[in-house]
Each structure stands twice: as C-alpha cells, then as structure tokens.
Symmetry: C2
Amino acid sequence: MARELAVVLASGGLDSCVCLAEAARDHDLALLHVNYGQRTEARELAAFGALADHYGAARRLVADIGYLKAIGGSSLLDPALAVETAGLPAVGAPVPSTYVPFRNAHLLAIGVSWAEVIGAGSLWIGAVEEDSSGYPDCREEFYRRFAAAVDAGTKPGTRIRIETPLIRLDKAAIVRRGLALGAPLHLTWSCYTEADTACGVCESCRLRLRGFAGAGVEDPIPYAPRGA
Amino acid sequence: MARELAVVLASGGLDSCVCLAEAARDHDLALLHVNYGQRTEARELAAFGALADHYGAARRLVADIGYLKAIGGSSLLDPALAVETAGLPAVGAPVPSTYVPFRNAHLLAIGVSWAEVIGAGSLWIGAVEEDSSGYPDCREEFYRRFAAAVDAGTKPGTRIRIETPLIRLDKAAIVRRGLALGAPLHLTWSCYTEADTACGVCESCRLRLRGFAGAGVEDPIPYAPRGA
C-alpha cells in the first residue's frame, strides 16, 4: 500500500537528517533542498544528495533562491561580515549575525507549493527552538502561525501539515534520536565556514559538537586539527 | 524629512500600479519585482521598470524564483496547460488553472526579508479578493495570518505591516482609484498570454477590461483586433 507522501526540507545538516529519518518511518519522501548563496552551498548540496541516495528518494527538488544573497543582511551570505566563532549565544543575547532574515519562510513557501502540486499531506523541517542559535524563524510559534497562513492561502481541498519534530529537542537529544532511528549522521554537514573538514569553532560546529558530547558518542565527520 | 520606507511588490500590472500609487502618497519606495517563469515575464519586467522610473524609485530589487516553473501546477507556467479564455470564473467555481500554488507567499517572504534588512516598516501588495480570479492566496484572511507569522518569525525589534489597500475593491473601483491618484495606468501590463498587444480574452484581460468599462473610461493600452 502506498504511504502518505511527505515533503522534507533537507539542508544536509545534522538536524534535517534526523528530521528526515523521522519522516521516513511512515511516509514516502519528496526531498527538497534550497540553495541561497550561503558560504558552504556546494558542500551542503553534496550532503543532500548523499542523504537522498541513502533513503532512496526518487522525488528531489533543488530550488535556488540566490536573491537572498542580493538582499544580504547575514554573515552567512556576506563575505564582509565575520561569522561568530567566540562561543555559543547566551539566553537573551541578540540574534547572531548568521541569521538570514526570514529565511525559513522562503523554505516553507517552496515546500508548500511543491506539496500542493504533488499532493503531499505534510511538510517537514528540522527547525530547533531550544538549544539553538536563537533565530526568530526557528520558533515554534512561527511555525504554528505559518501553518494557519497555509490553510488560508492554498486551495480549499489542500491540507498540508507543518511538522517540526525537533523543535523542542536539545542537540544531545537530536543526536540520540538520530542514532535510535539509524540516521546516517556520517553523511551530514553542519559547518558554516569550510567545505573539506569542518572548522569545529563556528557557531554551528560548536552546537553540533556539544550535541555529540552530550550524547556520549563521537561525531563521525572529520574536523580540522586544532591549535596547529 | 525622510518618510517611512515601504517595500512595494510591483508585477507591472494594473492592481500593483494602483497599490504603488497608494504607497507613494506618504512613503519612500523600495520596489520589488519577482520573475517566476510566467509566460509574459519579460513584458511584465518592462512594465515594472517603466513604473519604477515614473515614481523615481532608486531602490529596486528583481528576484528570480524560477523554481516555481519546475514545481509547475499552473497554466501560467506550463505551456502544456491552456489558459482559460472562456470567461470569468463564477462565484463558487473551482480555482482556475492559472493559480500558481501558494505563489503570493513567496512574494511576501521575499518582501519581508528585504524589508527587514533595509528597515522598511511596511510591505505592500496589490492583492484583490473581491472581483478577482478566486485565488486562495489573494484572500484577506491569508494576509492577516501571514502578518502574524511575520511578527513571530523576524527579529524582536522588527515591525513590518502587510498592506493590502485593494483587497476589497472591485476592478472598476481600482481603475477609479488609480485615476484619482494619477497612477500611470498606461504603463501597466495585465495580459497572461501575449507580449505586444494584449489579447483581450484571457481571464486577466477580461477582468481588466470590465474594470475600465465599469469606471466608464477607455483602457489606454493597445489590444489585438478582435474577430479578425
């Protein structure tokens, strides 16, 4: 029997890999990757391809929203702005420079359009509110409100749930959940700055490494030697 | 004194021109045009440029979301699907084939990202719910809900209003309002199918012509000869 079709946003990172593993439990998969001119675009796309191959997903869509680079406003997009490497943001700290203004709304809009055309009943995104970088477009409340907009802005017969299975997990719980689901964490890529071996010091590497440390397992991807 | 900055979505059509004229009354303008692989993309872009020149808007952004064409599902994007020319949709009729699934959410997301980066306090879109084609993403309720998602998904200090000044107007009222504001309606383009002289029979041309007829004025743009 055919299973319900799910569109899953897959950046190629740790969180989206575990989100994908959750969706794969009882859905047929349509995998969506979005390039937006970020520093490590090619490396993330390679990780997306490896994950899609791993899950045998025939339906894949790679969308390009390079206009976000023209809009700017983020150190992930603008070589003139430095990516923070000094540590993790404290609670109540300002939104980090790596925030790409309202980016996740673009990812959701693309996913909803695709889901409406192919008849998928849900759209999955590995957003994390707790233990994250404090991006406003990763808040659970944002997803709840966006889902209400989807109900009003699509055809009367369209029903697309927005699924955020990681939203309340911390990074250690995400790593543990991924291991429990047999997710191919070795295929993922999280580093914001490099494309061969992860830097280990950017905000994204630090969050990832803290997650593996908290779960008591070693991160299977290679990191650049420290203190050389 | 500098006026508040407004991002205005301008397709180059009649509605967006009147929306632009409304915004221009008391805002500095940042004009946004989006190409999405529609049949008359080049003609619409030319109309956008003419409108931006008319209003002396220095800030302009043209964003490309060609991935919508890959997603498909609309006769505006897919040459294999016919554009309806038989008349205007009746109340309660199914959503027409020209509906581009959830398209306006993409336009809003781009506008919000740009507004957040440049510090604009509002985003304007010439969506029309009454007397329109019955697209779900033109409903007032969709904009209300999307605005709530914007509040949750942008930085704590960001406040961006979504302005839909035409949402409850019929086409004749839009034409009259445009004339009252001195909007350059002769520079606009609405036809879904042609790029030199408007066809006069597609859904968009019919709505437009009905609006001018209702306002008792002649449409200043050229139409192809009928019944030849």
